[in-house]
Point group: none
Chain length 196, copies 4
DNA sequence: GATGAATGAGCCTTCATTCAT
DNA sequence: AATGAATGAAGGCTCATTCAT
């Protein structure tokens, strides 16, 4: 966790460097030295401010999660409460925001997931994120159906988002934003949710 | 890839040990020595037969993929061609086969995905698997709708399967097989696909 | 030292294989497995018959030394005792016998020397060879000069032989047999030794 | 090759330690750990600065070659151009400089030669040295004889130097500096080169 | 605050050798 | 006589981390 006092210019540089290196060689092959070199920062300082390699990954993920959260919030803010379909589309769009599709970010997500299974700190981070999406969706859906259906639909949409994202991440073609929207809109229509 | 000649008794032991160790400490912390100890096998022989740590992961994933493939095939075999809904349910059920939900297997999958982004051999393995699911689904759906819809539905079901699987994997509660079936059946009903 | 009983066909094969592998990768990188493969012989048998890697090098050098010894003897036998110049030339020619110039043999010699400094068994072998050349030369020269001069000339000729051989071995052009003869003949002439 | 920045005190220590260990157990048995221990330096730092074991050998040989080169140059500098015999004696003496006769150095030379046949970097080093001696000698001799004779004499003296050196290195008595001088002076006299 | 020198722990891998067949 | 499976020991090297400047 970032001690205050670290130059606020260098922090984002370091986080970008972390993602870049993970992009190039993977988390397990990434070394503190590589990351430092990428950011033109001495490796020692990474230890000093982030308390080691895993602290750096945590900070990096916090940054990505914040971006994700903002991408969703911004889109929701401009859509009235009662336009449920549009609001769900906004949530989806936020999850497929351009920043989240950057290959660097994509690879960092995957590395994060694999690592989160073995580091409690990361696991907590992951759980919060997982629940946030669900709760956003439940929130929108609760006016449209009864509890059981709400739960199923929320889980379905969340699964669609994550599933499309994952399959795209693993495919050489990358994540197709249009396709994602088409698939989920189609689902919403099947469920008679008007998109406005 | 496993040279022939390795005792056919020890191979599966070694693969189980690999998954067990990945389960316990994660792929990046897993050492050949740990795996050897777990299987009561000298680390040297692992290198001899699998050509190193990454060869071992590859062999392990091939084994998991074969299990997955069989889990689907077996279920499909007993359902007539024309019962499309049931066949899709069979595909889904195969993907949520008990073996695939074992935490050891789940963690190995995640490690595999993260690693596949940086090792071509693993990437190829991953791509084959990704396509196999899609092609199974397209095959079933093509008698029900026109091409465009088939594609969207196939992608949706694939995404639901992977998304539910992933979210379950990352959740402390694990993967809920009933829930998975409920969500996907609900989707099929929305699409007016009879489940027989 | 070769236990009797080893197939007399395989022994020379193994020695050839040893030199071949030393030629290709050097002694320190040569492994028993490589040598076995080269000779189509299981590595275990090398241990069985030669008592390990160093025993194999010893046997190989014994074989080379025997060849060298024979190359000299054969040439001396056909030259009358009193034709001292010609006999010295014969000794020189034997040391530059075609077999001794084979790159495989050359590299094995160098490896042997380096190793001999640290293995008594090899050192003894080396010492015998070193003395044999000197004593051959002293033998021929003693009728031509007085003791002091004999010693100096014997040492000089021995040094010329070994020096030319060594410099050639280390040069990319290899050992030049004609040049060797020219240099040493020139030396003998300077010393007024008639070549007949 | 040595990255700059390594403490200039420790570099020579490390090179001495390398020779010492080669002296004791030979190059192939020498381990980075042994050398580090000998110099009171952690093995890791050797890799850091020399890029591995072979880099260390290279640095060590460069150091020995520099000593050799200086030993010759110093002696040549104090002898007038026209005293050819004395200058050749100086070259010889430089090659038999006390430092070069140290058993540690002798064994390192032998190890170097054997290794140079299989490592291009070392081979280049070796070739430069081989040519330097010849060109020194040709330079001195060219005023005394015609081209053909010059070449033969240069090769002869070079061979005598290396041959005496090698035979001494391999002999339990070591290299005899007086004997070396006697043999080569004798050769020069036979060739009517005045020693002044 | 920042750096680079230094380290020690540990991992992958190789290999000579042994053993059961 | 011969083999190939198996092992234990060890080596080179990498890397996160610490320390003195």
């Amino acid at each position: 966790m970032p001690k205050l006092g670290m130059s606020e210019i260098r922090r984002p540089q370091l986080i970008q460097a972390t993602m870049q290196v993970i992009h190039e060689v993977g988390l397990s092959n990434a070394t503190v030295a590589m990351i430092g070199r990428q950011a033109n920062i001495s490796p020692s300082i990474i230890n000093h401010y982030f308390g080691g390699k895993s602290g750096l990954l945590e900070a990096t993920m916090r940054s990505i999660l914040k971006d994700l959260s903002r991408a969703v919030s911004e889109r929701l803010q401009v859509i009235p409460r009662h336009q449920v379909g549009a609001r769900i589309e906004a949530i989806v769009a936020g999850n497929f925001d351009r920043k989240q599709l950057d290959p660097k970010v994509v690879k960092t997500w995957l590395a994060f997931w694999a690592q989160a299974m073995h580091e409690p700190t990361l696991a907590r981070l992951q759980r919060i994120n997982e629940q946030r999406l669900l709760s956003h969706l439940r929130n929108e859906l609760k006016s449209l159906a009864q509890t059981d259906q709400v739960e199923i639909m929320a889980q379905a949409i969340a699964a669609l988002i994550d599933g499309i994202w994952l399959r795209g991440a693993l495919s050489p073609k990358g994540i197709d934003r249009q396709m994602a929207k088409a698939i989920i809109d189609d689902y919403l229509q099947s469920k008679s949710i008007p998109l406005n």
